[in-house]
């Protein structure tokens, strides 16, 4: 049901019956290592290229999520997936392996919540009994495509972020036990004229704020409704800007309630500058750590606002600015 301007309320509250998070070596040394189903010791996964390694991560995440949901591959009805690589090939090639009807999506780092929102919509409206949502990112593949060759000696500024090498997947179903998707706010593209690909946090913060405000406005609730409100990957810089911007707009969220997956992912001593980023940042944090906390009874209602920077390497060279989008999904126990 549409509520307000841009929020979908799912009357049947589709259930997340299984979820998985796969990570790489950096994530293994991070804060959320215990909530990963599988952690790899290197970024190659025995493959010949970074892009193929990313596909392997996504395949593993999907297979693990399906298994944990108690289903078989042939039981899955639809697969929604997106990632950062050109033409979303990790997703498409994973879809090839899964042989499930496939909807490729792209929201940059907001792909996981975009997928979760669409999957919930499909199930809630009766067009499927279940759906699989997945997303992935790979540090070296992202650097090679968006910025510089991985061994290149470019000095990164303190606003830069570290792309998570990992994948997250979740199976959503009409019936079952587990955290349930209650609502989703679809974000619109916001562009504040920033153009520095080494400062995504500041570029994405306005989009996150726009979606957060739309969510509370559409549903006519307050931040106190949720136990935790987390953005996708604003990092330390974007998180601070978003918090201040929300306060400036009159929507104050207490500091212990508003967090960011990019900040949660890694430890202080890891050289990740402003924090984690990438599709897998919010996906592995949500589908691993946060859902685990919900299943343990530590959290009852959370709001995840995944943020994405919709630039391409060419748009930057053509002196374009960075348009951003943020999609919010409310998950309740």
């Amino acid at each position: 049901m549409l509520q307000g301007h841009q929020t979908w309320v799912f009357q049947s509250k589709p259930t997340i019956i299984g979820s998985a998070a796969i990570g790489g070596p950096f994530e293994a040394q991070g804060n959320l290592a215990d909530d990963f189903d599988l952690l790899h010791g290197d970024i190659w996964l025995g493959q010949d290229s970074y892009e193929q390694a990313e596909k392997k991560l996504l395949e593993q995440a999907c297979e693990t999520a399906i298994k944990k949901a108690g289903l078989k591959q042939e039981d899955v009805q639809f697969f929604l997936s997106g990632d950062l690589i050109n033409q979303i090939i990790p997703s498409s090639f994973t879809a090839r392996t899964l042989a499930v009807p496939y909807l490729g999506i792209y929201g940059a780092c907001s792909s996981s919540m975009e997928g979760l929102a669409l999957a919930s919509l499909i199930i809630d409206s009766g067009f499927a009994q279940n759906a699989l949502v997945g997303t992935s990112s790979h540090n070296a593949a992202a650097e090679k495509q968006y910025r510089y060759p991985t061994e290149y000696g470019a000095q990164k500024p303190p606003t830069a972020q570290w792309t998570v090498t990992g994948a997250g997947a979740a199976v959503i179903a009409k019936q079952g036990k587990g955290p349930r998707v209650a609502a989703s706010t679809i974000g619109r593209v916001v562009d504040m004229g920033l153009s520095d690909p080494f400062n995504m946090g500041a570029a994405m913060a306005p989009a996150a704020v726009d979606t957060i405000e739309a969510h509370f406005r559409d549903l006519n609730i307050c931040p106190s409704y949720y136990d935790l409100i987390t953005t996708g990957d604003l990092g330390k810089v974007g998180h601070r800007i978003a918090g201040d911007l929300l306060t400036k707009h009159g929507l104050s969220i207490p500091v212990e309630k508003l967090t960011d997956c990019g900040i949660l992912m890694y430890k202080e001593d890891q050289p990740v500058f402003a924090g984690a980023s990438g599709c897998a940042c919010v996906a592995t944090t949500t589908f691993g750590h946060l859902l685990n906390r919900m299943r343990r009874g530590e959290l009852n209602r959370i709001l995840v606002i995944a943020t994405g920077a919709l630039l391409s390497p060419m748009s930057y060279q053509q002196k374009e600015t960075i348009p951003c989008v943020a999609h919010a999904v409310a998950i309740e126990m």
Binding site: D48, S49, Y50, E51, Q52, A140, K144, Y148, P149, T150, E151, Y152, G153, A154, Q155, K156, P157, P158, T159, D191, M192, G193, L194, S195, N199, A202, A205, P206, V237, R240, I241, D244, L245, K248, A274
Partner: protein, 159 residues
């Protein structure tokens, strides 16, 4: 951001950018300059040492020792890049490692390594100059212009 770019922003965008800039960690320009000075200086000193080595032990003189010196520095840079060390040196040293000819070799090597997965012809061969290309293109073109101008001026009796 250059002022001409700022003129294309709406007032809301300009306001936000000021808001954001006040909350961003600034690049530590002073520290970066000190580090660049140190690393750049060290690399050039090693170059000076190599030059002396080639002059003393081989049949090179001041003019011709430059070639083997540059070749050795490039080899060192290629090895450090291949070992995965150059990017760490560069994060600390900044321009100190990018500006010497070692930085040039690093761009070529890093691009070659990353695109190995696309094959040697299209991948390595086709992408090797991704970052070094502009240096070669603009170096050659500016040298062309400078040389033409100088030749014309000299032949007209000037200089």
């Amino acid at each position: 951001m250059s002022s001409s770019k700022r003129k294309n922003l709406t007032p809301v965008q300009q306001q936000y950018q000021d808001f954001a800039r006040a909350r961003e960690p600034q690049r530590p320009i002073a520290i970066n300059c000190v580090r660049a000075f140190i690393v750049g200086g060290i690399i050039c000193t090693i170059g000076q040492g190599l030059q002396l080595f080639f002059i003393t032990y081989f049949n090179f003189d001041e003019k011709t020792a430059g070639d083997p010196t540059v070749a050795v520095l490039i080899l060192i840079s290629v090895i450090l890049t291949s070992l995965g060390l150059y990017d760490h040196i560069a994060q600390w040293g900044g321009a100190g490692s990018a500006v010497p000819v070692t930085g040039f070799a690093n761009t070529i090597t890093s691009a070659s390594l990353d695109h190995k997965s696309e094959g040697f012809v299209l991948g390595v061969g086709g992408n090797m100059f991704k970052i070094a290309g502009p240096v070669i293109v603009f170096g050659v073109f500016s040298a062309f212009i400078v040389a033409i101008v100088k030749v014309i001026i000299t032949s007209l009796g000037g200089m």
